[in-house]
Symmetry: C2
Amino acid sequence: MENMVNVAVDAMGGDNAPFEIVKGAVEAVNEDKRVRVFLVGREPVIREELKKYTYNEEQMEVVHAEEMIETGEPPVMAIRKKKDSSIVKAMYLVKEGQCDAFVSAGSTGAVLVGGQVIVGRIKGVERPPLAPIIPNAGGVSLLLDCGANVDARPSQLLQFAKMGSIYMESVLGVKNPRVGLVNIGVEEEKGNALTKETYPLLLNCPEINFVGNVEARDIPAGAADVLVCEAFAGNIVLKMLEGVSSVLVKKIRDGMMSSLRSKIGGFLVKPALKQTLKAFSTEEYGGAPLLGLNGLVVKTHGSSNAIEIRHSILQCIAFKEQNINEKIKEQIVLED
Amino acid sequence: MENMVNVAVDAMGGDNAPFEIVKGAVEAVNEDKRVRVFLVGREPVIREELKKYTYNEEQMEVVHAEEMIETGEPPVMAIRKKKDSSIVKAMYLVKEGQCDAFVSAGSTGAVLVGGQVIVGRIKGVERPPLAPIIPNAGGVSLLLDCGANVDARPSQLLQFAKMGSIYMESVLGVKNPRVGLVNIGVEEEKGNALTKETYPLLLNCPEINFVGNVEARDIPAGAADVLVCEAFAGNIVLKMLEGVSSVLVKKIRDGMMSSLRSKIGGFLVKPALKQTLKAFSTEEYGGAPLLGLNGLVVKTHGSSNAIEIRHSILQCIAFKEQNINEKIKEQIVLED
């Protein structure tokens, strides 16, 4: 059992905890023998949920944590004070080496702070980026940084590009991933002070496949596999993707309900559209890794269901088996 | 004829010049007797196009300009050198008071530079924002700034909020428009240095109806009528809106073509969907005004067709009749 991938899972985090979280954990262990899940949270509640399912008990542990960190709580204070919360306890499992990874649908702020303060950064990593996988017309891209720390430096964006390339290639299997710098024009001289200084750093970095500036308009079309930007810009990209998709899908539904003719048509196209729109939902691709830490921390949507939790847990296998953190260490040391 | 609204139109600018531009100009003068268009560009070409239509000749002038500024040209140089270009000549018509406004589908850079250098800023305006009208679930919002000048100051964002409110209320008829600051969270303390400094300025400005921070996710739902941000962020909002819409619509079309059942359904829902999607297209709402200049300059999409040109020309009527620039002057002077 030495080679198993041990994943701590926040059983209390997110809108659908603990039901969907426990369900996703069971599905993950039933799908892959290499994974062992540590469900962290209120033990009686978790045990009650687990009774509903059949699974290999050697692949499932429960770690009791009495407290919970709420979404609205100031994260730094919560991490400091709530030592017996599911997030803090799970972070210590990773820090102390019992677990390789941690998956949470809970407070984004607490996960970001806990990752840095408890799990800790890899030596040389200036800032660990939160890197959601976003859908595009033909596949997916990794968007980093979407974290809470804005106003990044050019050297940090260079590190994002390297870490993102490693993750995209090793975990998602994209060979020689195309790295794009999110900008307001494609020409080298376009942009703000940050992008202008970052461009030559990316251009002259031999470890990445830099394809130049990428305009936001071309992001949904899939102009790059790894999209590099500071967190304010990354947040807008991610949230516009979610917001525009959701409004358009609603408008299309309303349009289909507007006449008898369109209602019949809507009934007929529904199965095909469902498939199409599923591929374009940000919730289909597992959680966002927080890269550059001494262990893997994955933040999933607050609204995560069992599917997203299962995906996120299974992604941790590739992360460990591909030695992502060793690769990151090599490139960061190389840089120093 | 003294009270007519005189609009210079760049007959040579954009992908569909001169055909769609001339057509849009003819449609505008045929729709409203208050407007007179000055088509600026190569006279023989314009005259040839005009022959296709019937219109009141007193409402249509042609001003010859031999040169054209191409989209790829460095704008500052182009404005300086090409004195006989349609953009430069039209800008002088506004500067010298022969025209009240200028509409162009040509080079964005040249229009922005020409607006500042030739038409000139209203005294006290620090930076003229480019303010496209974007569709949302229930109507439209004004997004400013989307121009070429990034890294704005808080005092500039405050001016954007004031000018945007005036435009939204007087030209688009939205009473007491809700002003939102584009940010990565709704709480006051969220964001980067710029948004944190701008928030209290907007909160304490009695001339605007500030509703707080707006997350990008809520922009397509219509969380504010006037969306204030610096140009890098504004560009991402605008381009993501365009990019996501275009990819989703294409995906939906492909989905409808995927089986016989969905093809039949697609045929039935098509008229209803066309209507729905039209309302969500950025090209339905005329061009983007460049606010704060001594005259109105409107930049339309490079791909503008006659409809967008007509809308943009007709918007100039409200701009003049509502004395937008007088109102801007009052508020900017008040501020000094």
